[in-house]
């Protein structure tokens, strides 16, 4: 009798364990594949910067948001400031960075269910190179891509004409892998209207520079989004964006530069930051014209100008914390960065003494050029400079004219200069390219030594080597004193109280990584 009941007890216990085991089997996948829910409204300023949903027409700016929703690049930038596998599961550069072997994730699929193959990747890169599509880095690809070797469906080698270690960094934001068969079937114009990508959201509806509607892809190979629907609106007026954030009509938005402080005390919204977007510097445009000697050819006068500027006060009082003093040419997400390098000091007395020592006891008259959206910063700088005797005439042309004058080297005297454009690029070679290379008009003034080291930096792939070379370049640049660092710019985003968790990618000027956003339950 006792034996019988013991056996029964064991049987019941076994049944109970089996029941718990089956329950676990059911529950675990449910948690892993949590269904997306809820809807958010994302606001971007300016234009969408993309034709329809075609990533290979992305011209910059707001296209970041679009591309990151619909498309997946080979590797992806995330809020931790590092590159992670996306379509490419693994990759390996050759030692000279002239070829790149890629293994495609065999789980990676387009939104129509088709698997992504090496042919699709080759087609996508070749398509991005087509001039008529005007992909923002199309020129770079045309200049550097040599040929492709497809080993099998998931393995390929890309051969470059020259070292191209910055390939992933330049093509992880606006570039996406597109389905060859579908694009060839429907054509470019139709593809822009009804795009299929490998990203975590599919596009449902679109009106150029007005709105776009997206829906989460269930069981996405990389990251199933937490939010079911995303509506992206293009709103040009800053006051309207602010009103939308305050009234709860927008959930995520680039906060208006002039009014973001208001959100600090708003019960309906909060601020989050995309830190270290770019570096502002004090440039001496005269140095680009060695035949015309001006006071700025004397390093003491240049130092005086740097000592005159109260960076801390400008960051706190004029920029309200949207910038911080910074002394390195590298951002915190770059290998080799030294956060202990102090920003150039503020010492107006020393500035006056240096001017006197250089032979200018009565000060000097010059010009100070700035981009229109940076007028306030430039005005504050001009005021500081005037206090020590560097009297500047402020030149703030309209954006298009500014670019033209910069390219034609029409500016003289001083400049509030934008750059390097870190923009979240993790390879320091990619992040410093626009500032160090004399081939780009943004650099305005550079030194042969810095340029040679930059070329070397661009060919490195190993993090350890990158750190050493980047640090070396940073020192060369600081020692050259052709420019002085001012401050690192941060981008404020307004987020509604409906959003529980969202972190922007560091250095990105527009909202990204929206697949990771979580709403309040």
């Amino acid at each position: 009798m006792f034996k019988k009941s013991k056996g029964k007890l064991r049987f019941i216990l076994l049944l109970g364990i089996l029941f718990c085991f089956f329950c676990l089997l059911l529950v675990v996948p449910c948690q892993a594949q949590k269904a997306p829910k809820g809807k958010i409204v994302v606001v971007t300023a300016g234009t969408f910067g993309i034709t329809g949903g075609d990533c290979h027409t992305a011209s910059g700016g707001s296209a970041l948001t679009f591309v990151s929703l619909i498309h997946d690049p080979l590797v992806i930038s995330r809020p931790d400031g590092r590159l992670h596998p996306a379509v490419a599961k693994s990759w390996k550069f050759s030692e000279d960075a002239k070829s790149l072997r890629i293994t495609i994730d065999d789980r990676a699929k387009f939104q129509d269910g088709a698997s992504i193959t090496a042919e699709d990747v080759k087609f996508s890169i070749e398509r991005a190179m087509r001039q008529e599509l005007k992909y923002v880095y199309g020129g770079d690809l045309r200049q550097k891509i040599d040929r492709f070797k497809i080993l099998d469906d998931h393995n390929m080698i890309i051969y470059f004409k020259e070292s191209y270690a910055t390939f992933f960094d330049l093509h992880c934001q606006y570039f996406g892998v597109v389905p060859k068969a579908y694009v060839e079937k429907v054509g470019d114009a139709e593809y822009a209207k009804r795009p299929i990508g490998a990203g975590p959201f599919r596009m449902l509806d679109f009106k150029q520079d007005v709105y776009a509607e997206f829906e989460a892809v269930d069981n996405h190979y990389r990251q199933t989004p937490n939010v079911k629907r995303v509506r992206v609106l293009c709103v040009p007026e800053e006051a309207t964006i602010l009103a939308m954030l305050k009234s709860g009509e927008a959930d995520v938005s680039t906060a208006p530069v002039s009014t973001f402080m208001e959100l600090r005390y708003d019960p309906n919204a909060r601020l989050v930051w995309s830190k270290f977007q770019s570096l502002d510097s004090l440039a001496f445009y005269d140095l680009a014209f060695p035949d015309v000697r001006t006071p700025f050819f004397d390093v003491r006068v240049r130092r005086a100008a740097s000592y005159a500027i109260n960076r801390k006060a400008i960051c706190e009082k004029v920029l309200h914390g949207a910038a911080q003093e910074w002394g390195d040419i590298l951002a915190p997400y770059h290998p080799g960065v030294d956060p202990n390098i102090p920003p150039p000091a503020y010492d107006p007395k020393k500035a006056e003494a240096l001017l006197k020592e250089a032979g200018y006891p009565n000060g000097i008259d010059t010009t100070l050029a700035a981009f229109p959206t940076h007028r306030l910063k430039a005005q504050a700088m001009a005021s500081d400079l005037a206090k020590v005797g560097i009297r500047t005439k402020l030149i703030v042309p309209e954006a298009g004219i500014y670019f033209r004058q910069l390219r034609e080297k029409a500016f003289r005297g001083l400049g509030h200069h934008m750059g390097p454009w870190w923009a979240g690029k993790t390879h320091p070679g990619a992040a410093l390219q626009s500032t160090m290379s004399s081939k780009t008009y943004w650099s305005y003034v550079t030194t042969p030594e810095a340029e040679a080291e930059q070329t070397k930096l661009e060919s490195l792939t190993e993090e350890k080597d990158l750190a050493v070379q980047a640090r070396k370049l940073s020192k060369i640049y600081r020692d050259s004193e052709i420019r002085y660092m001012l401050w690192a710019n941060h981008i404020p985003f307004g987020v509604s109280k409906r959003v529980k968790q969202w972190e922007p990618n560091p250095g990105w000027i527009n909202p990204g990584s929206l697949d990771l956003l979580q709403l309040v339950d």
Binding site: G46, T47, T51, T57, S59, G60, Q131, E132, L133, K134, V136, Y137, G139, D140, R142, Q143, L170, D188, A189, A192, K207, Q208, D209, V210, Y211, L233, C234, V235, P236, E237, A239, T240, A243, M244, K246, S247, E249, E398, A399, G400, I401, F403, R404, R407, G419, W421, A430, Q433, S434, S437, K439, T440, Y441, W442
Partner: protein, 305 residues
């Protein structure tokens, strides 16, 4: 009459050619679109390649010749930014502008005329004083300020209306009132002065002596005669509303032609700006042509001058 119309048509065509030249050269001297399209890392080679591809390295008069020869065939070119025909972009946005202008016109007519008429009837009384203040405020306050104040009060504070964008009828209310605000004030003034001019006439006095009710005198005899300047101003205002909604469209994020032009200017998308401004100018020119012909039809003295 035929020769008069022909003469007017030739004048309109010359005017359009003049406008196209001015628009073309003004937009092209304003800057280089390529520099706004390429990234900071772009080399001189990239920039030159893109300029050649877009045909911007050709002399301006050749670029203009190509533009005008295509335009007369109805092809206004492709947007530099969006690789789409500019006329397609214009037509996509025009219904929104038309809706906004019509809604604003309804507001202008429904408020401007009654306030002006009642002010004239009650001249010197409190209603007239309020009407005059209303007209003065309407013409003195800037449109963008009115728009932002409306958003702050009705959308952010009271949460009665959406802040911006298109959608349902609630989205139209604030932009329509903002856009119509200035013109309502103008119509109030013109209605008031036109009515004041009419109600002192002998035939109105005669109607009153004959014992006809005041409502009938005002509604049937006075208003009918005061309507000519009101109608003229109203028609002209409608065209201005169609073409002049830029600020309102920007503040309320209304996706109309005005916003398209502003975006085109900022991005140096020459074909888009040229197309929109040329069509807007055509509206003016043809509206004037239509009015001229109508006047000539009504008043024979004009066509014999």
């Amino acid at each position: 009459m035929k020769s008069y119309i022909l003469k007017r048509l030739v004048q309109a065509a010359i005017c359009l050619i003049g406008v196209s030249i001015v628009i073309f050269f003004l937009t092209h001297i304003s800057g280089d679109p390529v520099l706004l399209m390429v990234p900071p890392e772009a080399t001189e080679k990239d920039i030159e390649e893109m300029r050649t591809f877009l045909g911007l390295n050709e002399p301006l008069y050749i670029q203009y010749g190509k533009f005008i020869s295509r335009a007369v065939q109805g092809d206004f070119g492709q947007s530099i930014r969006w690789n789409r025909p500019t006329i397609e972009l214009f037509l996509e946005r025009f219904p929104n502008t038309l809706l906004l202008a019509t809604a604003a016109m309804v507001f202008v007519v429904c408020i401007g005329i009654p306030v002006g008429v009642i002010s004239a009837i009650k001249v010197g009384k409190w209603f007239d004083s309020i009407g005059k203040v209303f007209a003065l405020l309407g013409q003195a306050t800037p449109v963008f300020w009115v728009g932002i104040m409306f958003i702050l009060i009705f959308a952010v504070q009271l949460k009665l209306l959406p802040t911006s964008g298109v959608g349902g009828w609630r989205n139209v209310i604030m932009p329509a009132i903002t856009l119509g605000w200035f013109f309502t004030a103008a119509l109030t003034r013109i209605s008031r002065s036109a009515m004041l001019d009419v109600i002192d006439r002998e035939y109105i006095k005669m109607e009153r002596i004959m014992g006809i009710s005041e409502l009938r005198v005002i509604g049937k005899y006075a208003l009918k005669n005061a309507f000519i300047p009101i109608l003229t101003l109203g028609a002209v205002n409608f065209v201005i509303l169609l073409n002049g909604a830029i600020v309102t469209e920007m503040v309320f994020n209304w996706p109309g032609v005005g916003r398209l032009i502003v975006d085109g200017i900022f991005t140096r998308d020459f074909p888009v700006v040229q197309t929109c401004v040329l069509i807007a100018s055509s509206f003016y020119i043809f509206m004037n042509l239509f009015v001229d012909i109508l006047y000539a039809y009504i008043d024979p003295r004009i066509r014999y001058q």
